[in-house]
Symmetry: C2
Subunit: 457 residues, 2 copies
């Protein structure tokens, strides 16, 4: 029996080799070409995942986990063929432990779905990458987003995992206890491993209390340097910002074009404060003092829940809004992210802008700047090799800047296909150790081959 | 040339096989017998550590890292012979990055030394296991302590590491950036690995702003159940407690005997609140409301810095104070810790007390209860096999309780020698993966052999 026969036998109609099914998991929201997997499998249980892995292992068939396919470095693309293991049918919230502020979910649950289901509990799951990604995919890419400055990334919010190993064995890592010193931290090894070490089949996630009071606001600055200075001082002063997002003037122009807003085309900060009522008032007033010293203008508070939602949908619409800046048909957006120590943020952003200007690229800068993390969005023509080369050269230059300033080549989008070339520069001798870890977990290299680690030279 | 000749050649008088030197690293503050290493090495640089490892690897000599020797599960004892690699001469604070709120230290720096050196910066390092442990040892055991409920454990506060691998290669993990999605998280794999995967030669640690306002207080309850209820409600209500420590009536008696205090012999909570002034006032008043509903009495605020210091030295003197409860000469204290989901804390503590009563053991309970973590301190006679057996049986029963309630067999003291027997029960199939990790890092098994992983059966 071939592997595909066995998988068909196991899953029936939930295993498909049709072009339609394959095409659904072949695309991406970034700049990579479509890559068709050989087949798609839709397991409904951990046992099925384990059996799929055993079958694939026996036949040497690559397995590429698929959450919602929103990753931006091609992580979910089956570049070495094999099956796309699609978690969309494992989408149950299994247990809400309100008293312990945690939740047990299947990996295909998306973050919006989770927060919908939690609404009545007074609790929420904070990690917010904008896209409605799956929690399995978010764990696998160590995702973060606008609220990480306050609530942490997936690294801080995954308590425990269940995962299927490359030989089909099923392990559990971590527990519901908030901390443990019992052995090697396999949870954090799987978080961020991009499906190359194991398949996450269940997650126990930390929840947080819905804040008693929330304030959200925007303000603008004459230039990015002033906005960044304000951010640095705010973080250093210890104000526990829930969100502090930079949106540069080019991005504001994109918002205005895309959403019909009429914001002054200046760098803005988008802000949110969480806490008990007095604490929020105190935070807002401390922030406003720092901001006005830094030259902030146009303080606009979003007074209602609706206004707040509008503010954050605007921010989360950055990717399509970049398109509005250069709407020639066929163009795409290249999105790259780096993260630096906060003291280096102004320099990193200035370097990014200079690099874009030199190369005459349309470049927006938005960022989770409270973490020192920012994104550059560049429009380019995928049919034009010169434009592709220019965009990649920009990204390489930015990666170098981030490393020179003591940072990392990716704060949240991950390595996938696109950033393998910087692994040696960032990690040096540690790459050899990462290879040993990969071999220890997946000696046959069937789990998402061709990702995260650069080819051995 | 023998390994010891080569080490003597490398280190001169900083390599010693004298009984006096060996004896210094042979003891422990827990219940383990003294174990003499064959020799002690005192490196002063990463290069020396790497060279020591290369020599030991070539000769198959075990290497047991030694910080300050305060670990409680025998982690630092050279049970398979070899050298004790003592980091006490690598005790420099290398760089303070106040603007980025981090610090780069050598592993032999102790936490008190670090906070002393940071005093003028307005920043502090929060992880506080009571003992003045080394930061390398604290990372290696994934230590935490009284402030973890607010500031996290070593897991959350180590940003980056330099480490020497078992083959003498030197790697760097992580960076000064607050987050990264670039590859496998080797930092968190080394944190908590008890010197079995690599030797930490440099740490970059997160710092926190010294709180603008601090309030500390104690209050008491009629019984432990009421105190624990108060803790659970406090955590669930989202009050960002800086410290919330349970001290049971037996422990209070110990304090009174040991320190001459005259506290009512009732369960107490020891509390600390950090934040901006209004926020602290708000926290205190919210807490007091919850506490008084739970039956708290005798609210005592520590108004001055001195009073606060006295309060926490009393708490941190728990280990010697247990001794006062049963001062027969030659007796020792067995200290064990477990951690459970907070909703299970009352049940776990009740089970511990019942278990101690059944066995007629003198048992104190203190705990970092905001994390669901507590410690039992038991007096026993190390010369009496029956008493030893009783104490170990208690610990085994408590470990079982913790696992039944969804927790972990150790929240912070680690596995070392003492808790290997519970690794299979806690981790199941994941133990096999941990073994593969160990082999990938240290194929010769020269790094702290005999620790953390149970012997293969
Ligand atoms: C508009 C937009 C905005 C974005 N903003 C952010 C942002 O602010 N912050 C951020 O961090 N990211 C951001 N991203 C990137 C993306 O949302 C994240 O990388 C997300 O975590 C991907 O989740 P997914 O479910 O789509 O995973 P996929 O793309 O399906 O998969 C991602 C990787 O995880 C693996 N994987 C998926 N599920 C599992 C599993 N169960 N077990 C093991 N491996 C698995 C896949 O094999 C793949 O390697 C953005 C993307 C878009 C399109
Ligand atoms: C009174 C008292 C109270 C305590 N309270 C707490 C508490 O509240 N919370 C808590 O977490 N712990 C507590 N402990 C335990 C102890 O303080 C911690 O385990 C501490 O982290 C040990 O640090 P150390 O420097 O003494 O390490 P050591 O005991 O010297 O070594 C511990 C382990 O780490 C390894 N190691 C040491 N340095 C390195 C290095 N540089 N690289 C690699 N491996 C290394 C050693 O090989 C060993 O396996 C307490 C201990 C005492 C005596």
């Amino acid at each position: 029996m071939t592997a595909f026969d066995a998988l068909g036998h196991l899953l029936g109609p939930r295993f498909s080799t049709t072009l339609a099914a394959r095409k659904q998991n072949a695309g991406n929201e970034a700049h990579y070409d479509e890559v068709l997997p050989d087949a798609v499998a839709f397991p409904e249980s951990t046992e099925e995942v384990a059996e799929i892995v055993r079958i694939c292992a026996a036949h040497g068939v690559p397995i590429v986990a698929f959450g919602t396919g929103t990753s931006l470095e091609g992580q979910h693309l089956a570049v070495n063929g094999g099956i796309s293991l699609d978690f969309s049918r494992m989408d149950k919230v299994l247990e809400v432990h309100a008293e312990d502020m945690n939740v047990v979910v299947q990996p295909g649950v998306t973050r919006k779905q989770l927060n919908e289901e939690l609404r009545a509990t007074g609790l929420f799951f904070p990690v917010d990458p904008g896209a409605d990604a799956s929690l399995g995919g978010m764990a696998a890419t160590r995702a973060s987003g606008t609220t990480a400055v306050r609530y942490g990334t997936m690294r801080e919010n995954v308590l425990a995992l269940e995962a299927v190993m490359a030989d089909g064995s099923v392990i559990r890592t971590g527990s519901e206890a908030r901390k443990s010193s019992a052995g090697y931290d396999l949870t954090h090894l799987l978080v961020g491993s991009e499906g190359t070490l194991g398949l996450i089949t269940e997650l126990t996630l930390k929840l947080h209390g819905q804040p008693e009071a929330v304030a959200a606001a925007t303000c603008r600055f004459d230039d990015v340097a002033a906005a960044v200075d304000c951010v640095i001082l705010t973080i250093q002063s210890g104000i526990p910002m829930a969100r502090i997002e930079l949106v540069d003037e080019m991005m504001v122009r994109g918002f205005n074009l895309h959403s019909g807003t009429t914001m002054p085309e200046k760098p803005h900060l988008f802000l949110e404060f969480h806490g008990a009522p007095d604490a929020v008032r105190e935070q807002v007033s401390s922030f406003r003092e720092i901001a006005s010293d830094a030259g902030a203008q146009g303080w606009q508070e979003a007074e209602t829940t609706e206004a707040r939602t509008a503010l954050w949908s605007l921010r989360h619409g950055a990717l399509p809004a970049i398109g509005a800046l250069d709407p020639r048909p066929g163009k795409r957006t290249y999105s790259t992210d780096v993260c630096v120590p906060i003291s280096q943020l102004a320099e990193a952003i200035a370097a990014a802008r200079a690099e874009a200007e030199t190369r005459a690229l349309t470049c927006t800068i938005v960022g989770h700047v409270g973490d020192g993390n920012f994104h550059c969005g560049l429009r380019f023509d995928p049919a034009d090799p010169a434009e592709i080369a220019e965009v990649l050269a920009f990204s390489g230059a930015l990666a170098k800047v981030a490393l020179r300033l003591g940072g990392t080549v990716t704060g949240e989008h991950g390595i996938g296909l696109g950033k393998q070339g910087y692994m040696d520069a960032e990690h040096g001798a540690a790459v050899a150790i990462m290879r040993r870890v990969k071999t220890a977990f997946d000696p046959q290299a069937i789990l998402n081959p061709g990702k995260l680690l650069p080819p051995e030279s």
